[in-house]
């Protein structure tokens, strides 16, 4: 029982390390959020204190709401993220099905071609992407962002989904074929429902970089009407840099939605990472 005796101090040490790092990870976010709800003097005099009845103030949020178009930015971000996500999942699953289900000439080559984008970042083609969008009149439209993010998300989605689709039983698909189902029906009604957990994992991985991206909104859609939250917050904070209440409130508004989404999906995300590596 040597391990049992040794385990108490070791567990204490483990908790100490993890707790210390959790503090490092959460402290900056915590400081921003509590100070967003304080009046200006309290922000500077006692930055680490929680907002009390005397120091509580929402003046920062009022400034953000009256000066910035944050509702519009949120709407843009939601549209771009959801439509791109839908396209990545649908097109990705279709291509993954073709690659994992059928033997055809060039199958392996096609798989490698589509996997190229996992390692080479799409940003390096920005010069030509911008020219393409200018030529097609898509600059300052959400469509431009949706197209770019769809292309960006596809390689990893196809890679992960085709791994999962190989595990779907052949008997099931063949039974469907015997019953006279078309290949499309087999895909949409038999295979897709079975790979739903994998789709959820891909969705979370695809969503976070799209929501957080600054580069493409800055280059392809910087107009006021097409700004995403990430770009909008960046511009707003740049303009209001001396108004600490407004800056802290804008940051808090940008943090909260992602945080809520993460807490909802965190189990899915962690399960996805673990399943992908264990495989």
């Amino acid at each position: 029982m040597q391990t049992a005796r040794a385990s108490l101090p070791r567990a204490a040490a483990a908790h100490a390390v993890l707790l210390a790092y959790t503090l490092i990870a959460l402290f900056p976010v915590f400081v921003i959020v509590i100070n967003a709800f304080k009046e200006r003097r309290a922000i500077f005099n006692s930055p680490l204190a929680l907002p009390g009845p005397e120091t509580f103030s929402t003046i920062g949020f009022e400034t953000v709401m009256s000066q910035g178009n944050f509702l519009l930015y949120f709407q843009n971000s939601f549209i771009v993220t959801l439509v791109s996500l839908f396209c990545v999942l649908l097109f990705g699953a279709m291509a993954a099905f073709a690659l994992s289900e059928y033997k055809f000439r060039g199958n392996l080559l096609m798989g490698l071609y589509l996997a190229l984008g996992i390692m080479i970042p799409i940003r390096l083609g920005t010069v030509a992407i911008l020219q393409l969008m200018v030529a097609t009149g898509l600059v300052n439209t959400l469509t431009a962002l949706i197209l770019v993010y769809t292309a960006q998300g596809l390689p990893l989605a196809i890679f992960i989904l085709s791994e999962f689709m190989r595990t779907v039983s052949d008997d099931l698909k063949n039974a469907g074929r015997v019953d006279g189902l078309s290949e499309y029906r087999i895909f949409f009604t038999l295979v897709l429902p079975l790979v739903r957990p994998a789709m959820a994992t891909v969705a979370v991985f695809t969503m976070i970089p799209i929501w957080n991206d600054l580069w493409f909104p800055l280059i392809l859609a910087p107009a006021e009407s097409t700004k995403t939250v990430t770009l909008g917050a960046q511009v707003f904070i740049g303009q209001f840099v001396t108004n600490w209440n407004a800056v802290l409130a804008a940051l808090t508004l940008a943090i909260i939605p992602v945080l809520v989404l993460y807490l909802i999906f965190s189990r899915q995300l962690i399960r996805g990472i673990t399943a992908g590596a264990v495989k």
Binding site: A25, V29, Y113
Partner: protein
């Protein structure tokens, strides 16, 4: 692999093309084509509104012309240092946290995992400004916290000094992304079968020596993947520097990375006009750097790592 189509043999199986078409079209048109168009444009220059073929002259300008080369080598060196800091700080911390978390008897594992991963989901805009505020000498959170532990004298305007700004930014980026190596290694550690660990315990190998001798060698392939992901991510980085230091990557270009250099060259800044051809040249150099890194990993490192099948 999968069984062949058992139904009646069709001369052409159009459904394969239909399944592949949307993904291949979007991917080719928006990603592959622009990538190669960009590589192609680096061979041209604009003279009086006309594109003129100049071969590799843009590259010799970038590497040799004093107006360009100083900025380029500065950005390349900064980028390399940025990567080194990640490899030396982010990945060891990630491995350490994962090793502690993977102990099945530990309580509150889910809480720690969720909490430590939170910075990773935040956008660069949030991360950049949050740290800018916290490290700001104006607000004084960082100095007063250092004061509490008696280290006040260590404080300086870290993001504003040429000598410390880049390392500070790299450490902020480490803070943000430590969750990724932690999660991947954690997953790899969980996949080691219990029998292997029990066999080690029977041989009297426990605690840290068990980690060094048994677990670490088994997760080396994952560490390889993390290294190449870090490499690609770092040599493509832009957002954090742009958000916290601006496109000028101050102080005095001390935090200029290839990404910010590309942005300034392509779009221009202040009095300098944007130059798409030189921008394409820098993007091509970044492309080749990443390609070389990925090739080294695929052909030299990955083939030599022993994979263990359980």
């Amino acid at each position: 692999m999968t069984a062949m189509d058992p139904g009646p043999k069709r001369a052409r199986r159009w459904h394969i093309a239909v399944f592949l078409a949307p993904a291949v079209l979007v991917y080719t048109a928006i990603m592959i084509f622009p990538l190669f168009a960009t590589l192609f444009q680096s061979l041209f220059t604009r003279v009086e509104g006309q594109q003129v073929f100049v071969g590799l002259r843009n590259f010799t300008t970038l590497f040799g012309d004093p107006r360009w080369s100083a900025s380029f080598w500065n950005a390349l060196w900064n980028n390399t240092w940025f990567f080194i800091v990640h490899m030396l700080v982010q990945n060891p911390i990630g491995i350490l946290l994962a090793a502690i978390l993977s102990n099945p008897r530990l309580r509150f594992r889910g809480f720690y995992r969720t909490a430590i991963f939170i910075p990773t989901i935040l956008s660069f805009v949030i991360v950049g400004f949050v740290w800018k505020l916290i490290l700001s000498p104006l607000w004084g959170i960082a100095p007063s916290m250092l004061d509490m532990v008696g280290l006040r004298f260590l404080f300086g305007p870290w993001l504003g000094q040429e000598t410390t700004a880049l390392t500070t930014l790299a450490l902020i980026s480490v803070w943000q992304f430590v969750g990724i190596p932690m999660m991947l290694i954690y997953a790899a550690l969980l996949s080691i079968p219990d029998e292997v660990i029990e066999a080690a315990e029977c041989d009297g190998i426990t605690g840290w020596s068990q980690f060094w001798k048994i677990q670490l060698p088994l997760v080396l392939p994952t560490i390889g993947i993390i290294s190449i992901l870090t490499f690609v991510g770092n040599f493509n980085a832009f957002d954090l520097v742009y958000v916290s230091q601006g496109a000028q990557a101050g102080p005095n270009y001390g935090t200029d990375l290839l990404g910010t250099f590309l942005y300034r060259t392509f779009f221009g800044f202040q009095l300098q006009l944007g130059d798409p051809n030189m921008g394409a040249t820098i993007a091509s150099v970044m492309f080749f750097i990443i390609l070389i890194g990925v090739s080294i990993y695929l052909f030299l490192i990955q083939t030599r790592l022993r994979r263990y099948q359980f």
